[in-house]
């Protein structure tokens, strides 16, 4: 497999290069032919798009959590597998069971497992580093509390502290602002800026269009295909947002339905309507990603 860097359109210095990524769940395409290069300088990148546009899927495919039907992902010019240690991940808060019998500190220490290695015990030094990460997100006092006794915002901060503990060079965060209070939102923004000033690039799935310009430098507009990507100032335009959220590509939509039908012959051709939300998010193609989450 030739390195992406040898292709003229990709740079080996880019924190993240995606070439021709296609992902399908049960043969329904969720991401089609995504080509993307992250900016060379440390940046905060928002991944924006309607529900079911494949935003989480993009992150998960980059991390190898869902299989790609085709395509390549490189981190600083190397395949992702070789670069795991420089990539941090903050999943959606709902993705784990918060009744699990662990403390906030236990969760943050998990971020250091790659450094600790197989079957090795967690040393005091790693616990100390994890405590320091909790302090950075303002949670030092709650380190020993069981995670179900934390508020939603505090749980999100625990996840961020865990990402800090990974000491990565780039981060993927899946909706870090979802369902948090204003104080936590500010704390997260401060933390993102701090990471950028330390030379990190952060990719965030983001839902609140109002705050994109305020929080982020770059934006990736996604609706199954990549609509546009680049600096917020030039790319985050009404025209591009209309294409992302309102654009109905009827032929492509019909093709996606046909592909899905071919995979599941038992299902009738008239799929149930997704209602107003379905119409607003561009209908069938966006709907095709529904099985894979937003």
């Amino acid at each position: 497999m030739p390195a992406l860097a040898s292709r003229p359109e990709h740079s080996a210095r880019s924190p993240l290069s995606i070439h021709d990524m296609t992902v399908a769940y049960q043969r329904r395409p969720v991401l089609w032919d995504v080509d993307y290069d992250a900016p060379l300088e440390p940046s905060l990148v928002a991944i924006v798009g309607p529900n079911g546009a494949g935003k989480s899927t993009l992150i998960k495919a980059c991390l190898g959590l869902v299989p790609m039907a085709s395509g390549q992902v490189e981190v600083f010019g190397q395949p992702y597998r070789a670069q795991r240690k420089v990539v941090g991940y903050v999943p959606q808060r709902e993705s784990v069971d918060w009744d699990f019998p662990v403390s906030a500190l236990d969760v943050v220490v998990m971020g250091r497992y790659a450094m600790i290695g197989w079957a090795r015990p967690v040393t005091r030094a790693h616990k100390q580093a994890a405590r320091e990460c909790l302090r950075q997100v303002g949670m030092a006092d709650l380190a020993d509390r069981q995670i179900s006794q934390l508020s939603g915002g505090q749980q999100q901060r625990v996840f961020l502290a865990r990402a800090l503990a990974q000491e990565s060079r780039i981060y993927f965060m899946d909706e870090p602002f979802a369902g948090v209070d204003a104080a936590t939102e500010h704390a997260i923004v401060d933390l993102l800026r701090e990471l950028r000033s330390r030379g990190r690039t952060v990719f965030c799935v983001h839902h609140d269009l109002q705050t994109v310009e305020q929080y982020f430098d770059h934006v990736v507009l996604l609706n199954t295909r990549l609509v546009a990507a680049g600096p917020v100032a030039t790319v985050f335009t009404h025209e591009n947002l209309r294409k992302t959220y309102g654009g109905r590509l009827t032929v492509l939509e019909e093709a996606a339905q046909a592909v899905a039908q071919a995979a599941r012959p038992g299902v009738s051709a008239s799929a149930p309507s997704r209602g107003v939300a379905g119409a607003m998010t561009g209908g069938g193609i966006a709907g095709a990603g529904g099985g894979g989450g937003g």
């Binding site: 795991r84 069971d97 662990v102 236990d106 998990m110 079957a119 069981q146 865990r162």
Partner: protein, 463 residues
């Protein structure tokens, strides 16, 4: 070795050790199954091994423990793989996939058994699969031979040796890979992104479960296997909020369940006058494990039902005490002198209930209020003084003033800082005043800047 001791070792200790080993192995792994909501997997495996056992017997023509173990372990692994394949290839959820696989496998085993000539009459019958043969695990040694000799060892039940090996492997695996098991059970996505093969670790856990279930159920039957996979971990979960401690506690509980269950089954009927009678030891152990879980659900110090109710009751009573003091303070304010409050009125104002009545008695005992034969009340005595009246003492007066001060500071705060309308804040302040720490109070009324009058124009009492 004295004869009674030898008798105990041969007839009781050996099966008891077998039961303890089975329980410990199952409980240890059960922690991770319960947390991952896969408890049914043990049930599935223990039923689905039947065709494996029959097939092993048909192929090898013997009921040697090793052959049976291999057959059952093969069927157990097949179950795990089939469940996972079914889940991935269809859209059936895991629980349903397990149900499909184990019922089909068990039925297949029953059919194979009926077809296999002569097999029906050996001890490999369905009763055995469910209840085990724990009582048959005695140390078969002639009384002329010493136990710890070559001839003595030959009579040692091989199932117990198998259990010893399997249990040791489980303990070692959980001890060495505890960190990895915790990571994969909590957040498989993170595990994968960190480079830990989550799928492999889960598969490894399932292989261990299959091994433990197969080794155990030969000795103790599938009912005890299922009980031990679920009950000790669930009991331990009620007692702690840390996975490490949960695992240790579950192992201790498994040992207690097995020993107590065995003794109750073998000695219990004798104590009840049924000389020489005994009930199924495995069944009794399962019952004991359920009973212990029930006790933990009721009596656990923090998460138990009783503790939770006690906490709620205590909070309700404390709030009632504070409310009564505040009512008396407002009466004092209106009259400019100590006034009385009818107990019936107080209880009614607090919405009735036992907590309010108890609160009055506790306030009297604490010296914060005293009984009075005040106006409007028909004197003390009578029906438990429920219609008496109380008045503030000096000590109660100080506490009441502080409570009312907090209440009015909250009202001021809610109007001025939060922007609520002044006629909307009383109830909220009522709630908040009971949960105000000293630090919050100093934030409500900073030095020198404390307001003197609340939004409704009432004076805020001094601290």
């Amino acid at each position: 070795m004295s004869e009674p001791l030898r008798q105990f070792v041969v007839a009781d200790l050996t099966p008891m050790v077998g039961a303890v080993l089975a329980s410990v192995a199952c409980a240890l792994l059960g922690n991770f199954l319960v947390l991952r909501r896969l408890s049914l997997m043990g049930d599935a495996i223990s039923h689905a091994v039947l065709p494996g056992l029959v097939a092993a017997f048909l192929v090898a023509g013997s009921r040697a423990t090793g052959v049976m173990f291999l057959g059952a372990a093969g069927a157990g692994l097949l179950t795990v793989i089939a469940v996972e394949a079914l889940r991935r290839l269809t859209r059936i959820e895991t629980g349903a996939a397990m149900g499909v696989v184990f019922s089909v496998m068990f039925a297949l085993g029953v059919l194979m058994m009926k077809r296999a000539e002569g097999l029906e009459n050996v001890d490999l019958d369905i009763d055995c699969v469910l209840n085990g043969q724990l009582e048959l695990l005695f140390w078969a040694v002639p009384s002329s031979e010493p136990l710890l000799s070559a001839a003595g060892w030959r009579g040692f039940p091989p199932q117990v040796l198998t259990l010893l090996v399997v249990c040791a492997v489980c303990v070692a695996a959980v001890a060495v890979f505890f960190k990895e098991l915790r990571l994969v059970s909590f957040d498989a996505g993170l595990a994968t992104s960190l480079g830990y093969p989550a799928g492999m670790i889960s598969a490894g856990l399932m292989v261990l479960v299959a091994g433990a279930v197969v080794a155990s159920f030969q000795a103790v039957g599938s009912i005890l296997v299922i009980a031990m996979l679920v009950c000790p971990p669930a009991t331990a979960r009620m007692l702690t909020d840390r996975l490490g401690r949960q695992v240790s506690i579950s192992v201790a509980i498994a040992v207690v369940d097995a020993v107590v269950g065995y003794l109750l089954a073998t000695r219990g009927p004798g104590l009840l006058g049924d000389e020489g009678g005994a009930v199924s030891a495995a069944g009794m152990m399962a019952v004991v494990s359920g009973g212990v879980l029930g006790m933990a659900v009721l009596g656990a110090p923090v998460h138990g039902v009783i503790a939770r109710h006690a906490r709620r009751w205590k909070l309700a009573r404390e709030i009632a005490e504070e409310d009564i003091l505040a009512m008396l303070y407002r009466i004092w304010e209106q009259r400019g002198a100590v006034g009385t409050l009818g107990v019936g009125d107080a209880v009614e104002a607090l919405g009735g209930g036992h907590a309010a009545r108890v609160a009055v008695k506790r306030l009297v005992r604490a010296g914060k209020v005293e009984w009075r034969d005040g106006a409007g009340a028909d004197g003390g005595g009578g029906a438990g003084r429920s219609r008496g009246a109380v008045a503030l003492t000096d000590a109660g007066g100080r506490e009441a003033r502080s409570l009312v001060r907090t209440h009015r500071l909250w009202e001021t705060y809610l109007v001025e800082k939060v922007g609520l309308r002044s006629d909307h804040v009383h109830c909220t302040a009522m709630e908040l005043e009971h949960h105000t720490t000293a630090q919050m109070r100093s934030e409500l009324a900073p030095e020198g800047a404390a307001p003197a009058i609340d939004p409704q124009g009432k004076a805020i009492p001094p601290a």
